[in-house]
Symmetry: C2
DNA sequence: TTGAAAGCGTTACCAG
DNA sequence: CTGGTAACGCTTTCAA
């Protein structure tokens, strides 16, 4: 660290010190093979000496690339998302991208404006469980987008194997003797909720079980607590929740009412957030590879941005851009039932 | 939405449609009072019609401002941080700033490079519980910085009243009959850890209690679990943990070993993360206004950026820039002991 | 292999 | 109050 001027050091400073033109500095740094080794060394030395780092903003203006990716998600307060964001962040930094984050507070109306606001300073978006309508999202897609935890037609997506998870959970309950169970649904705007419900219906009917669906609640502990009394009033011996937060709210309210878990009622969550293992009784839940979702999402997005017609939705049929290219890939990460203490044999 | 060209619409397009120069468009949009009302209307109509939004990247280049703030934190996996980030994000968006996020994975060595990498695309930084050395942080401060959960000399800071929290916790334990207690320390690099320990020592000695300090552990559930056996082997009746995660790890391991909480050992956490209320027994802990920390942090940073000599560290004494200006303000948010089930009277 | 020059989209400055 | 022009820092032609 020799040079440390108060103001930023520009390419011109390096050029002057190295005794070459700005163009050469640019080349020497970006494409070391296209300049004479001697020049390259002089430039690199000068750059290091001055502590020069190219101004990414200025570069963006000419190249159109920003080296930023935008991440939009509904609620950092749901422990599921920080885990995904952390994975995104890690993978993005590895690929030399920075992450611009927006939390929409579960408000669908905020998503589109947020995307529009960020659009100019990012090369692409990772939409985490977006709540807005398909058409709105398609309409705002001027930049490459990858959708996480949802599928929207032309965009690549990364989702969890919700059906598989539900199948595992249901057969677990079936084996324990449960025949009539209920599902506490999450937000109506949540694709994962619909996907889980779909899988759940298939699984229960395949096993000849009865499913009682209970209204849509907020994907929070409070949401679960609010639904608990409805569940208790239904003739069920087990309940599956949209996610762990809801399941936790259910358990909490059951316990407050003296309803034993799993003695009188078994409870199954979804996501396997950290706290699921810590509560009493520990929560039986369906684990998702959250890190994998984030990581794969970044990879897909980078592939998409690198692709030839890297517009938002690859208009004009995108030639033969198969899923392999990241074209409109649909990656599904596996789920795994984690059996813990909140499920048990049905009381006879 | 009338105009929706495939490519971005620039100021020139608006100028052409409105029949004025680019300069006028700029003014009409930025400073509506400085142009004739008629012109203003024509420009605004044209802009709306074309769906024009100024290119923030290009603007940055000339103004030097980016409308981004950088947030650097050690671990999104610790539920404390997402809550703070959410508050930051909300407040930032309200003020029309976007948030660039970096998770350093508790690695002090990553912080400085991360800051340097982001420096060019942000107007200032919010350093959340930074782990690097004071000098390193001061050295990298080319942009305004506000530090959260730590105090570093020339920077404004927002911290929790750790001493007050510890005092409340200790007198709570004292009232329950505890006389010898231990503290399971967090990362050595954590200022909060040192501050809490400081407050703890003062509180215990004021009440004539004995404090047994137990080594530094990672601020995670695993860290707590790892320290549990050391605590159990010490002649204490209660233990305070660096944070809730560590406390949870302690409780978990105690229960696995058949040590009753709070029957044989009382446990107190810090932070009051969501899960603290959900575990069994619910965790007695010291609550911090996490949202407030984030919100105040943003306000302080904005004030600092607006300040006259808005360099990183306001060199040259910054005239009379008192705390009121956000100069080198030190805001302390209150803490509040939340008594739950993990603490009880000492077994006789 | 290198340098000069032309932008990228915007704002700031200075005449008019 | 308005329009031209320069400039921000960089990359990318195009000649030499």
């Amino acid at each position: 660290m020799i040079g440390e001027p108060g103001v930023a050091v520009t390419i011109k400073d390096v050029a002057r010190l190295a005794g070459v033109s700005a163009s050469s500095v640019c080349r020497a740094l970006a494409d070391p093979d296209r300049v004479r080794p001697e020049t390259r060394d002089r430039v690199q030395t000068a750059a290091r000496q001055l502590g020069y780092h190219p101004n990414r903003v200025a570069r963006s203006l000419i190249t159109g690339r920003t080296a930023n990716i935008g991440v939009v998600l509904p609620d950092l307060g749901n422990p599921f998302f920080p885990t995904v964001v952390k994975a995104i962040q890690t993978q993005a930094r590895r690929r030399d991208y920075a992450v611009l984050l927006t939390d929409t507070d579960e408000d669908p109306a905020v998503e589109v404006p947020a995307i529009r606001a960020l659009a100019m300073q990012v090369d692409g978006f990772l939409l985490c469980s977006p709540r807005a309508a398909d058409d709105e999202l398609r309409a705002v897609a001027e930049k490459p987008m990858v959708v996480l935890n949802r599928r929207i037609s032309p965009f690549p997506s990364v989702t969890a194997d919700n059906s598989g998870g539900m199948r595992q959970a249901v057969s677990h309950l079936h084996a324990l003797g449960h025949r009539t169970i209920s599902y506490v649904a999450g937000p109506r705007t949540s694709w994962s909720n619909r996907d889980r419900l779909r899988g759940l219906r298939a699984a229960t009917s395949a096993l000849g079980m009865t499913l009682i669906e209970i209204g849509n609640v907020a994907p929070t502990v409070a949401g679960g607590a609010a639904a608990a009394d409805l569940v208790a009033a239904a003739p069920v011996t087990a309940v599956l929740a949209y996610n762990d937060l809801v399941a936790l709210g259910l358990v909490q309210r059951f316990q407050a009412r003296g309803i034993a878990v799993p003695g009188q009622l078994s409870v199954v969550g979804f996501d396997d957030i950290l706290v699921a293992a810590l509560v009493g009784p520990p929560l039986t839940t369906v684990a998702i590879g959250k890190e994998q979702i984030g990581r794969v999402g970044v990879d897909l997005l980078l592939a998409l941005m690198a692709a030839p017609g890297a517009a938002g939705l690859d208009r004009a049929g995108s030639e033969r851009a198969g899923p392999g290219r990241g074209g409109r890939a649909r990656r599904v990460v596996p789920t795994q039932l984690i059996v813990r203490g909140s499920t048990g044999p049905v009381a006879r």
